[in-house]
Symmetry: C2
Subunit: 231 residues, 2 copies
């Protein structure tokens, strides 16, 4: 018989979850740099110093939120792009749309990971892997499509990357274990930049008065980008 978690362990896990929830709720109204541990403690009906039983410092709480956000987004994208009846193009479009939905639903979380870096906060190594998960999910349909084709067919609209860039593309693809030729990796990065850029503009109100709602704009951008990705 496996001994389950003790009541204390259960309570601890619950409290950590609640702290994160309250922190996220707070982020809706403030930037990450202003996240207040005391405010969280107040809402938890706990003395402020008690927070330190759960997170050794404010930065550690922020790190946890960032890791969670990447993981949550990554998983969302993985599910949206799961292999199935749909072709790669459709799958990739679904991934991107899921990304936008996630960003619109949780704009503060999006800002936390893809927004302006937090002053005074230095991201630890722990955030690298979860961040990669998002990119991997983003490019999965492209990898699948290319795996089924002659690599040479790719990259008609892209010129061949120079030596420096080619090497950087190689290093990046390897780090993420992406099986993509240089030109395809470049196209994926370009697509990612466009999606992040469009979401950044939309979430920060740069489309106000022009593209509101931005659904049609987004679809058009994605449709074009999919073609350029060879999908």
């Amino acid at each position: 018989m496996t001994k389950g978690p003790t009541p204390r362990q259960v309570a601890r896990a619950e409290n950590i979850a609640r702290i994160k929830e309250l922190a996220l709720a707070q982020l809706a109204g403030t930037s990450a740099g202003e996240l207040s541990l005391r405010a969280i403690a107040r809402e938890l009906n706990i003395v402020s110093s008690a927070i330190y039983r759960y997170f050794p410092s404010r930065d550690d709480l922020i790190t946890a939120l960032i890791v969670d956000a990447y993981d949550n987004l990554g998983q969302t994208l993985e599910e949206a792009g799961a292999r199935g009846r749909r072709g790669p193009r459709r799958r990739w479009l679904d991934v991107c749309r899921a990304m936008r939905e996630w960003a619109l639903a949780e704009p503060h979380r999006f800002a936390l990971v893809y927004g302006s870096s937090i002053p005074g906060y230095r991201a630890p190594r722990d955030t690298i892997a979860p961040a990669g998960r998002v990119v991997v999910a983003f490019s999965a349909p492209v990898c699948d499509e290319l795996g089924a084709r002659e690599p040479v067919a790719y990259g008609d609209s892209w010129s061949r990357p120079g030596r420096v860039l080619a090497s950087q593309l190689r290093v990046s693809a390897d780090a993420l274990e992406l099986d993509l030729p240089d030109a395809a990796m470049l196209a994926v990065v370009a697509a990612f930049a466009r999606v992040i850029g469009a979401l950044t503009l939309e979430l920060n109100g740069h489309f106000v008065g022009g593209f509101e709602p931005a659904d049609a704009l987004f679809d058009a951008l994605l449709d074009d980008e999919a073609t350029r990705l060879g999908l």
Copy 2:
């Protein structure tokens, strides 16, 4: 004989400029939401309440910084893209490179205008025109190129925008007084999103360990984008 500005007016203008400078310097180490008027006053050797002789509130100071940033960036792009011996493609590439240089030189200013919105701060109308100036400068070379061509030649890789999107594109182009057909306007927005996205990723450390420096990557993205813009 025209009466020049009084000593008082000169001093006032100088102080306003110094306050902005100190505010910008402070932004290098903090997010806009944490900008401290008291800290500025301290550095100016002035009592904290004296700041209110120059800016009625913290938000007004932030607004001034935002307007300045847009104007400064806009002017930089205008100069980089000035008509001359270079063809439109080269001009557009120069504009984009100037934008990157500006962003790398003044990352906090870039974050101020294109980064995550500032919690509690509501941008007044005054920021709209300067923001548009940047987009206009960004698309100027494209407009010039298209003015010299058959509009029909454009947009082979872009599908025709739907009704909603077409109307949004029209409204946006008109608001900025851009003489661009729908497909071209769409391509410009897409290009802008990509550039903003790439800069956002670079400035916030998402290229660390992969594309460092990102010069080659940026050039490749721009080169491809220029082709897609029909340049």
